[in-house]
């Protein structure tokens, strides 16, 4: 048992931390108001090796593990959760799917891993979100071996910025995944609705109208990689939640030390101290659950639904901690002059990045009922 970062993890965390201080903290406010976008920051993150974290060095990536990715995302999310959401999606969900599917087109993989092109994954169709089984998008094999893709996907992170998307589709033989060039004929990208939070994150709805996808871009059975991709989505969402939680805690405590009422800093009042203690404790627990699950995913594989436990805990504590931090700010917390309202909105929106806690609770409970996961 050892809770220290190793040298590589520390180095990466520190480089993300200084990147956030220099390049994210200031513009984050503007990005979230829809002024300018974070495209440039994304390009710079490629320079830090943060766009191919899980891809092997041989294939042009950083060759690091899920734990190191989670640590980087938590740090990045302290500056801007929406930016972190894009980085998480590209690395863990999209590239995570490619890697799990055994994709071996080296030059293409290298372009994604080095950030020369961005990759997204379009799975959700809206109402089916909780139940990935009902895919209405279809793929039909053509005489020349290519696939014809038809359907509509909703709320795809990086949907406007990515050059390619992994798209899940139904065939007669079951669900498959295809790697689709988003500049191909028949693809329409539309900006998704503005969400409550994560506003820096690029989101698009994608429509495919008889899009021809070459046979070489067939990624196999979508169901076979679904649990790995879901685990990666959940754990990276948990990591982003940690960043939001830490940022909100810091905002609340810092404000409470400065704001004076009744002749003393409000930090001296017990109700404020109580909230501070609960937030700090929940953050610590959320971190430990997340690091442990990420460590398991990096080594032998997750057990006893540790990923779901981490995700539930991290997502829910982000909302609680952000709510307390907003309350500590009094009326000022309700204005956009302080970043705490953004943390509050981001915390509330995180659950769109992975299944919500309710779905994950069902997964845990099913495991418990069958004896598949105990608490020891």
């Amino acid at each position: 048992m050892n809770f220290e970062l190793d040298e590589t993890q520390e180095m990466i965390r520190d480089s993300v931390r200084s990147f956030v201080a220099g390049r994210v903290s200031q513009p984050a406010m503007k990005w979230n108001e829809g002024h300018g976008d974070a495209r440039e920051a994304l390009c710079e993150l490629a320079g830090l090796g943060l766009l191919g974290v899980l891809v092997s060095e041989k294939a042009g990536g950083a060759g690091l593990d899920v734990l190191t990715l989670a640590i980087s995302l938590a740090e990045l999310a302290r500056g801007d959760a929406g930016l972190a959401a894009m980085v998480a999606h590209h690395n863990a969900v999209a590239l995570g799917h490619l890697l799990a599917a055994g994709y071996d087109n080296k030059p293409q993989l290298q372009r994604f891993a080095q950030g020369d092109a961005l990759l997204c994954r379009a799975a959700s169709e809206g109402s089916d979100h909780l139940d990935g089984a009902t895919i209405t998008t279809t793929a039909t094999k053509q005489a020349d071996g290519a696939w014809s893709l038809k359907g509509h996907k909703r709320l795809v992170p990086l949907g406007n910025l990515a050059s390619h998307s992994i798209v899940t589709a139904m065939t007669e033989a079951g669900p498959i995944a295809l790697l689709v060039d988003l500049d191909a004929a028949g693809v329409t990208r539309t900006l998704s609705d503005t969400l409550v939070g994560l506003r820096t994150c690029d989101l698009a709805d994608l429509t495919f109208e008889a899009v021809a996808v070459p046979e070489a871009n067939f990624l196999g059975d979508a169901a076979a990689v679904a649990s790995r991709v879901a685990a990666l989505a959940r754990i990276t969402t948990a990591a982003i939640a940690l960043g939001v939680t830490r940022a909100a805690l810091a905002a609340g405590v810092t404000y409470s030390l400065e704001r004076k009422q009744f002749g003393k800093p409000i930090a001296r009042f017990q109700p404020i101290q109580w909230q501070t203690a609960d937030s700090a404790t929940e953050l610590e627990a959320a971190e430990l659950l997340t690091w442990r699950a990420a460590w398991q995913l990096s080594t032998s594989g997750a057990t006893a639904h540790s990923v779901e436990k981490a995700a539930i805990f991290a997502l829910e504590s982000a909302q609680k901690v952000a709510d307390r931090a907003l309350q500590m700010h009094g009326g000022y917390g309700y204005t956009v002059d302080f970043p705490v309202e953004r943390h509050f909105r981001d915390a509330a929106t995180l659950r769109i990045l992975a299944d919500g806690p309710d779905v994950q609770r069902v997964a845990i409970a099913k495991g418990l009922a069958t004896g598949a996961n105990g608490v020891r």
């Binding site: 048992m1 050892n2 809770f3 220290e4 970062l5 190793d6 993890q9 734990l67 805690l249 810091a250 405590v253 810092t254 409470s256 030390l257 930090a267 017990q270 101290q273 109580w274 501070t276 203690a277 609960d278 700090a280 404790t281 610590e284 627990a285 959320a286 430990l288 659950l289 690091w291 442990r292 460590w295 398991q296 006893a304 639904h305 540790s306 436990k309 539930i312 805990f313 309710d358 994950q360 609770r361 069902v362 845990i364 409970a365 099913k366 418990l368 009922a369 996961n373 105990g374 608490v375 020891r376």
Partner: protein, 386 residues
């Protein structure tokens, strides 16, 4: 970062678990009902080295680390919460301060028999008039020749009836507050003191809680633990470690409550369905399992901090706060899942609620833990102080 147990830690876990399964679980309800001290279990704890888990072998202990101690505490408390607190007090509140602050004479004379379980220890800080505000204590220890003369009453002392070695915290200089406090090893055979009435409690009924009455009791000056005036520091540092043990006790209680509720939820039917398949019951069970894991990691984080010689006070306060309140929530839900059967003694659910409740009170109430955590957190952000 690395989350695996070592072979020794794994062995400690398995040893503790099989002892709990075979000897503690079958007797826990009777121990609660009769309120008798679990003497046979304590004897076995001694044989297993569990009364001095983190004491060097050189001084008669098992020579394991504090993480092993936390692991063993969880398993033992899962078997019997009363046995758990007796174990925790002997390890954390008695052996630990002698190990940390004692000289070789004191270690040889008391640490070894305590760690081997030939003697049993208690820790006396609280008084009828002072609990959270420990420095408000009234008991005095006045130097007179080669002895300190002790006068006063200590209250709520766990194992007070059975213990024959007492770590006593008292004012050696009543004109000072914190800085006038010293710590002593009081040997009941050498310096007999009075035992007050045994408290009748809500839970942990197999563990005795008594007052200790000191009426001109003479204690040799060589029994002083640490320097004069250092007693408050001894007490606070001791409690930092003790909180790991109590947090693990809370966790063990939560685990058995959860396990029984899970099993019950698979047996009981209503409306033609196994109750464990209702969404509401599932949600409770999933939350219980999640919070149990969170508590365990906080406890392990604190224990590893202690093993590494870090300043672990904030982490042990977090572990104690979270684990104790988690245990209360989990036991409450476990009782709820049993319905009416949770409210009667035919099942254990009501006992777990009663046993869990104490962990939010002793070794620093939840309120005191929150003060400790809030201060540490605020200081970390306070630029005006750095």
């Amino acid at each position: 970062m690395e989350f695996a147990l070592t072979e020794i830690q794994q062995m400690v876990l398995e040893t503790a678990r099989s002892f709990a399964d075979n000897e503690l679980l079958p007797n826990a309800a009777a121990t609660d009902k009769t309120g008798t001290f679990p003497a046979a279990a304590v004897k076995t704890l001694a044989e297993l080295g569990f009364l001095g888990v983190a004491v060097d072998e050189k001084w008669g202990g098992a020579g394991f680390d504090n993480l092993s101690y936390a692991i063993a505490m969880e398993e033992i408390s899962r078997g019997c919460a009363s046995t758990g607190v007796i174990m925790s007090v002997n390890n954390s509140l008695v052996c630990d301060p002698i190990k940390k602050f004692g000289d070789d004479f004191q270690k040889k004379r008391w640490l070894t028999p305590l760690a081997q379980g030939r003697r049993l220890g208690c820790f006396a800080l609280s008084e009828p008039g002072s609990g959270s505000d420990a420095a408000g204590m009234r008991t005095t220890a006045i130097l007179d020749g080669d002895d300190y003369v002790i006068n006063g009453t200590k209250n709520w002392i766990t194992s007070g009836k059975e213990a024959d070695v007492c770590i006593l915290i008292a004012h050696s200089d009543p004109s000072e507050r914190h800085r006038g406090i010293s710590a002593f090893i009081v040997d009941r055979q050498e310096s007999p003191y009075g035992i007050g009435k045994v408290e009748d409690k809500l839970g942990i009924k197999g563990s005795s809680t008594t007052s200790l009455v000191f009426d001109n009791v003479r204690v040799p000056a060589v029994n002083r633990l640490g320097a004069e005036g250092m007693g408050f520091k001894v007490a606070m540092s001791t409690l930092d470690g003790g909180r790991i043990g109590i947090a693990a006790q809370a966790l063990g209680i939560a685990r058995i409550a959860f396990e029984e509720a899970l099993a019950y939820s698979r047996e009981r039917s209503a409306f033609g369905k196994i109750i464990g398949d209702f969404g509401a019951i599932r949600e409770m069970l999933a939350d219980m399992a999640t919070e149990i894991d969170a508590a365990r990691l906080l406890i392990w984080r604190a224990a590893v901090g202690k093993d590494r010689g870090e300043n672990f006070g904030k982490h042990s306060a977090m572990a104690k706060l979270y684990a104790s309140e988690m245990s209360a929530r989990v036991c409450h839900k476990a009782l709820q899942i049993h319905g009416g059967y949770g409210y009667v003694k035919e099942y254990n659910a009501e006992r777990h609620v009663r046993d869990a409740r104490i962990t939010e009170i002793y070794e620093g109430t939840s309120e005191i833990q929150r003060l400790v955590i809030a201060r540490a957190t605020q200081v970390a952000f306070d630029t005006s102080q750095s």
